[in-house]
Amino acid sequence: MSVATKQAARELQEHPSAPLLRMERIPHVWCPSCGIGTVVKCYATALERSGVDLDKVSVVSGIGCSGRVAGYMKLDAFHATHGRAIPFATGLKLGRPELLVTVISGDGDLVGIGGNHFIHAARRNMDILVILINNFIYGMTGGQNAPTTPISAKSSTMPFGNFEEPFSLPHLAASSGAPYVARWTCLHIRRLTWAIEEAIQRKGFRFIEVIAPCPTLYSRLNKLGTGLGEMRFYHDNAEIKHGCDTKELDIGFHEKIICGKFVDEERPSFLERMDSHYREVLGDKFVPMGPDGGMIHE
């Protein structure tokens, strides 16, 4: 955070992230000790530090608690339909290639109903940054079982405990072809901010999973205390293993969580491949869509 921003913050007695937030809507709707606000803070800090043109940043969220992120960020923000944040973001990116498009949404939204879009965007190495906030449950609708809910965890639709095998999200992303895959928890604020900053500089499908507490549903239904209890759990049980094989990243119920950066490769992104392919095949006849996009101005 720059000194100038901080001085201004002290003078106005306003939080230094305020320029990136829709302050007229703060305090936000998230529960006390929910981790989503922390992820938004880390994202806002990373954006500011990275020096990108904030006018060219777009945020797309789906439906759910994490889906409300778009509503609080002072960027071009889109609150799309359930599970369709990734294809919506694809449309934004392909319609105006100079945009930095970020998808911030939840586990149920992005890999439940949105699972198909997730794997295809990773396969294509579509140029979007995806921050998935994983609270292991469908929070906003009252605590239903999610594709990430660990075995034996209780939820409102699996009241006797979950018996379905959950996804290991970094494994899903990496095996679908994502070139940048990382997992952090809400406690790892500095590493998470650094990971987002790093991902902003990369191209292609960057995927960061953030484990977040859900005090009102997941923690309550499973008697794990408040969000602070969850953060204490992350403190004692999160292990950093950069480069770990993504096959070993399963999360059991209230068990060890392996965090770190697992995949960081150079791979041509969708737009780069499209460009170079058409150039090769069509030569001079190829007219690329400019960075300003497909709009025909008067």
Binding site: R22, R25, D55, K56, S58, V60, A70, G71, K74, L75, D76, A77, F78, H79, A80, T81, G83, R84, I86, P87, F88, A89, T90, G91, L92, L94, G95, R96, E98, L99, N116, H117, H120, M274, Y278, L282, K285, F286, V287, P288, M289, G290, G293, G294, M295, I296, H297, E298
Partner: protein, 385 residues
């Protein structure tokens, strides 16, 4: 504004309806298309995928129709004109995001080359059974515009009109072709680019500080801002206020939704389009659209030779429905005869507007083929009695 010459394939061509529709989109300035293959619509995007890289357009085949429609809505927010193409089963899948486009007031065009339904139905054969779905397909209250071409030439011309209407009213436009027109090859004349009038994306002139995404400024339509121009707006599928923020109140719902419906209903006179022939003094008026209109003309000729005074009304814009005209005609004629390749969809609208003053006779057809003109003649005879 005149069309961008890069997208206009001027000349006289021998094209099928699908290809002509694709050419119409390119002439209208569409430069982003996301689609998913489905018979009988695939040729539209096949043509576009071949031509787009030579004119600065991007085509992507998405993983399913839901993704296609979501990408079309997202792409439109960059200021690009966007389109997707599909048929019955894909149309059903796209409905949620069509609702999103309607709620967010995103201009875009959805082409449905109708086939026999329901469900997988008759993939390679004609139907016209999606016309009600075009109007009511997504949940909630909203209004869209739907058009129906009867020839490959119209598939070209009306696609350009569809894009223009989408821009003018900030609404998704359903382009309801049918498989017969889509797969029929005829002469299509594409004029010079400077003879084609296109409505460009209207951007707000306000500064980012003054701009709200759904501010009406005393009018009926909000002003558009592109993502990436520094306006930092928020838009959502939730019921929202003029700032684009979700507000869960009865007043906001009333304000938000009533306007979505009224912006089309209040301007119906400017949007409605139909063609009439021989209406004056007619006892029976045949109302038809799409490929059925061409079959109906033959039936009308036969009926006229039998001495029946038959008029013809061809619907070009299906929604909003030409209520005024039908109400007017209902007082003057004995009956309407509505042949359509379904078991009764637009006939319901005709009957509703006729309000008992004239009868409404349906000539149904399950799909797979066009009507046998004899069946239409029979019904005209019955209606004339």
């Amino acid at each position: 504004m005149k069309a961008d010459p890069a997208g206009v394939l001027t000349g006289a061509h021998f094209l099928d309806g699908d290809f002509a529709c694709g050419e119409g989109a390119m002439a209208a300035g569409c430069r982003f298309v996301a689609g998913y293959p489905i018979t009988p619509s695939t040729e539209v995007v096949e043509r576009i995928s071949r031509r787009f890289p030579t004119m600065g357009g991007t085509f992507i085949q998405m993983e399913d129709e839901l993704a296609s429609m979501a990408a079309v809505v997202g792409g439109s927010w960059t200021g690009s004109k966007t389109m997707t193409v599909t048929s019955g089963p894909g149309f059903s899948l796209m409905m949620e995001n069509i609702g999103l486009a309607a709620m967010m007031e995103t201009p875009c065009v959805v082409v449905n080359v109708q086939r026999g339904g329901p469900s997988t139905g008759l993939p390679t054969m004609v139907g016209q059974a999606d016309v009600m779905q075009a109007r009511w397909g997504s949940h909630g209250d909203y209004e869209v515009i739907a058009m129906s071409p009867q020839s490959p030439q119209e598939a070209f011309d009306l696609t350009i009109d569809a894009f223009n209407l989408a821009e003018r009213y900030r609404v998704p436009v359903m382009f309801m072709m049918d498989e017969c027109v889509g797969h029929m090859t005829e002469k299509v004349v594409i004029p010079e680019a400077d003879e084609i009038e296109v409505v460009p994306r209207q951007l707000t002139k306000k500064s980012p500080e003054e701009y709200f995404p759904y501010d009406l400024n005393g009018g009926q339509l909000p002003e558009f801002a592109r993502a990436g121009d520094g306006y930092r707006f928020h838009t959502t599928g939730l019921t929202h206020d003029e700032k684009g923020y979700p507000v869960m109140s009865v007043e906001c719902q009333e304000a938000c939704v009533r306007r979505l419906v009224e912006k089309i209903r209040d301007n119906a006179d400017d949007i409605v389009r139909f063609e009439e022939e021989g209406i004056d003094g007619a006892d029976v008026v045949v109302v038809a659209y799409g490929i059925t209109a061409r079959v109906a003309r033959m039936a009308i000729e036969v009926a006229r030779n039998e001495g029946i005074k038959v008029g013809f009304m061809r619907l070009i814009v299906l929604w909003p429905f030409p209520e005024k005209r039908i109400r007017e005609l209902a007082g003057k004629v004995k009956a309407f005869v509505v042949p359509e390749i379904n078991y009764g969809q637009m006939v319901l609208e005709v009957e509703r507007c006729a309000a008992g003053k004239a009868a409404a006779w349906l000539v149904p057809h399950g799909g797979g083929n066009v009507h046998d003109p004899e069946t239409i003649v029979e019904t005209i005879m019955k209606a004339a009695k």
